[in-house]
């Protein structure tokens, strides 16, 4: 995955609560067997009407938000289905970080596994950034992951929290499986103990 250090660009506000992964990636885009080609599906029914024409009034279709890098979102973003397609599609649309008050659990893990930075801030801070993001003259933000800060053009600056493990993985674009397999011996030893203590857990061989 692409490492995240410092990213600058326009932010767009999507303030609705409970934006679910059916909205982020509708079902008709879930029929692939690879991760590609999902940018068109991302937020599809918000970006396009029933005939497939672009909705000119939707923020991401307006020229001032071309090349949007960040979303400032309402509470519980990413709720619902576990579909990781939602995260792949957002990244393919060019989104690198999402700022909100709360994110759904599975979506949060999916984002971390793909280098999409999720930042949780206090409601007042999100409101300030949402107001900036809605103003075409002031919608550019800079996110500095090493320094854990978000800043607007000549505007406010907010610090954010992130777990040191996730920060390190994002900054280095780490392959989690490779890291875990370094502990293959420990997993094997655990598994042997676990199955000796609860022998009914040994899977039925086919």
């Amino acid at each position: 995955m692409q490492p995240f250090t410092t990213v600058t660009g326009p932010a767009a506000a999507l303030p609705a609560a409970n934006t679910d992964t059916d909205v982020i990636m509708p079902k008709q885009f879930l029929k692939g067997i690879d991760r590609s080609g999902l940018d068109n599906g991302t937020l599809h029914n918000l970006r396009f009407d029933a005939t497939g024409a672009r909705r000119s009034d939707f923020v991401l279709n307006r020229p001032e938000w071309a090349d949007t890098r960040f979303l400032v979102v309402g509470p519980n973003f990413g709720c619902g289905s576990s579909r990781e397609h939602a995260v792949w599609g957002l990244l393919q649309l060019g989104i690198r970080a999402i700022i909100g008050t709360s994110f759904a659990g599975i979506f949060n893990d999916n984002a971390a596994n793909n280098g999409l930075l999720l930042i949780s801030l206090e409601p007042g801070e999100v409101h300030t950034l949402s107001t900036l993001a809605a103003d075409p003259a002031r919608n550019r933000l800079a996110i500095d992951l090493p320094a854990q800060s978000i800043s607007g053009d000549g505007g406010p600056r907010f610090a954010f929290d992130i777990s040191p493990l996730r920060k390190d993985a994002l900054m280095r674009g780490l392959d989690a499986i490779g890291t875990t397999l370094d502990q293959a011996g420990a997993i094997r030893a655990f598994e042997a103990r676990h199955h000796a203590a609860q022998p009914w857990l040994v899977p039925h061989a086919r």
Partner: protein, 477 residues
């Protein structure tokens, strides 16, 4: 050792290694996962990742592959998929089963069904297990005393390669159901009441343990409904202490341990409970006798009111952002504030899904429709949760009850719950649905979903509008 919750005990007993210096909520551990279930739409990219890296599956016998999301449910079953994308997913699923040595229940298999219905039926899930799987409704297994939670595709790949996940400990919430449910009120109403009470993100960051005399009185299938849908409140894991009802449920399942191994297992499972003095991060209480049959009016599962209620008025909502969300919901649902829910007419009725398509659900619905007929202008569908449920229902004649009442009696799959196959609402169609999500477009672009119990769906199909199943029951026979 200080008193621990059941969640803490299961995480502790499955921790291979700690990944940081923390211990409480937020601490990251390498967590051993006992079982997974794979479906055809969230797993393909995980297998592709393994192929690209040249990695094998750590424990192929601990996984089960089930086709459920994209297959048709037409009464005459065949292996044809309704579209090229779904056909390609099913074909690749078969390739992955063969190449990685994982058992597959494909669409023509006699045990095929919705993954969360099939796995318990097989005895594939046992108390004390930790189960992570690529579907949010993996929380279902909490009802069996197994900690279940959904994961994304990257984590499926991580699991397949290592039998572990890099896992962040959740905060703990205990939800207690005090007292007994009133007649006509079901497990579905309990979980809908919980979601309405704490909100769609009320349990975000938490693992829920369900407890209380009201829960203990419910069947294991009813408990599965509750654990299944708790994810709609944001719960990232769900557990219930296994009791005798669970042991009885598991005992005769094909893959349950037998003989001396069974006795040994039950002795261990009987210890799986929260210590008396353990402290939860949050406690929520529900009074069972205050719960009524609920229906949703909006586009989030927490937008629900008792069936006797009215569509709320956004003008009375003081918070501006929430007011706007309500207005958007009412515009999408084409409902005016103040409308009585019982005046809302429907065109579709769907009994199905991993939430509510087990045998007990079909029995409850059949009781309502027996001797009656679906209203003119309503299309009613019954999609059993598994092929085994379908056979069992047919053995007791439920198929005839539904067919004589004018319902379609179909084959098993996820079907109209998320409309990834050819079971789809037309734009503007309104559906009474026993499913779990009323999101915009979930059942088809422009389709309008009202969530409720299977008995309530049955009643709505008969009346042609949303209605209180308890009134229909009084008029009956």
């Amino acid at each position: 050792m200080s008193p621990r919750t059941l969640y803490d005990k299961l995480i502790d007993s499955h921790t291979v290694a700690r990944l940081d210096d923390h211990t409480g909520p937020g601490a990251e551990v390498l967590l051993y996962i006992d079982r997974t279930i794979l479906n055809e739409y969230t797993s393909p990219q995980a297998f592709s990742g393994l192929r690209e890296a040249g990695r094998k599956v750590w424990q192929p016998d601990a996984a089960l592959m089930v086709v459920d999301h994209v297959n048709p449910t037409a009464p005459n079953r065949n292996a044809e998929m309704p579209d090229a994308g779904g056909a390609n997913q099913v074909r690749y699923f078969g390739d992955n089963s063969r190449d990685f040595g994982i058992e597959l229940l494909d669409v023509l298999h006699p045990l095929q069904g919705i993954e969360h219905v099939v796995a318990p039926e097989l005895g594939f899930i046992l108390p004390g297990m930790v189960v992570g799987a690529g579907d949010s409704h993996t929380t279902t297994y909490g009802a069996l005393g197994a900690l279940g939670f959904g994961i994304g595709t990257s984590d499926i790949e991580h699991y397949l390669a290592t039998s572990t996940l890099r896992y962040r400990r959740m905060r703990t919430m205990r939800v207690s159901l005090d007292g007994a449910l009133l007649p006509g009120v079901t497990a579905k109403d309990v979980v809908m009441a919980l979601i309405a009470k704490i909100g769609a993100s009320g349990a975000t960051g938490y693992a829920i343990e369900f407890a209380g005399e009201g829960l203990a009185a419910l069947s294991v299938e009813g408990r599965m409904t509750i654990c299944n849908m708790a994810v709609e409140a944001g719960a990232r894991g769900v557990i219930m202490a296994p009791d005798q009802a669970v042991f009885d449920y598991v005992a005769d399942k094909p893959r349950a341990p037998k003989g001396a191994l069974w006795d040994q297992a039950v002795r261990y499972w009987s210890t799986l409970r929260t210590d008396a003095d353990a402290v939860f991060d949050r406690e929520v209480r529900l009074d069972a006798d205050e719960i009524e049959p609920l229906v949703t009016w909006g586009i989030s599962p927490d937008q629900a009111v008792p069936i006797g209620g009215r569509v709320p008025d956004p003008a009375t909502e003081p918070d501006a952002a929430r007011r706007k969300d309500m207005q958007r919901a009412l515009a999408y649902m084409d409902l005016a504030p103040g409308t009585a829910l019982e005046e809302v007419t429907i065109q579709r009725a769907f009994i199905g899904s991993c939430t509510n398509a087990r045998l007990s659900d079909l029995r409850e619905a059949a009781k309502v429709v027996r001797g009656r007929h679906v209203a003119a202008g309503v299309r009613g569908m019954v999609v059993p949760g598994s092929s085994s449920v379908r056979r069992a229902a047919e053995a007791e004649g439920l198929d005839r009850v539904f067919i004589e009442a004018g319902f379609e009696w179909r084959q098993s799959g996820c079907s109209l719950c998320l409309a990834m196959n050819d079971d789809v609402l037309e734009p503007g169609e309104r559906c009474a649905s026993s499913t779990n999500r009323n999101f915009e477009g979930r059942q088809g672009a422009g389709g309008r979903t009202h969530l409720m119990s299977p008995a309530m769906v049955a009643a709505a199909a008969i009346a042609g509008r949303l209605t209180d199943v308890r009134r229909l029951a009084k008029q009956g026979a």
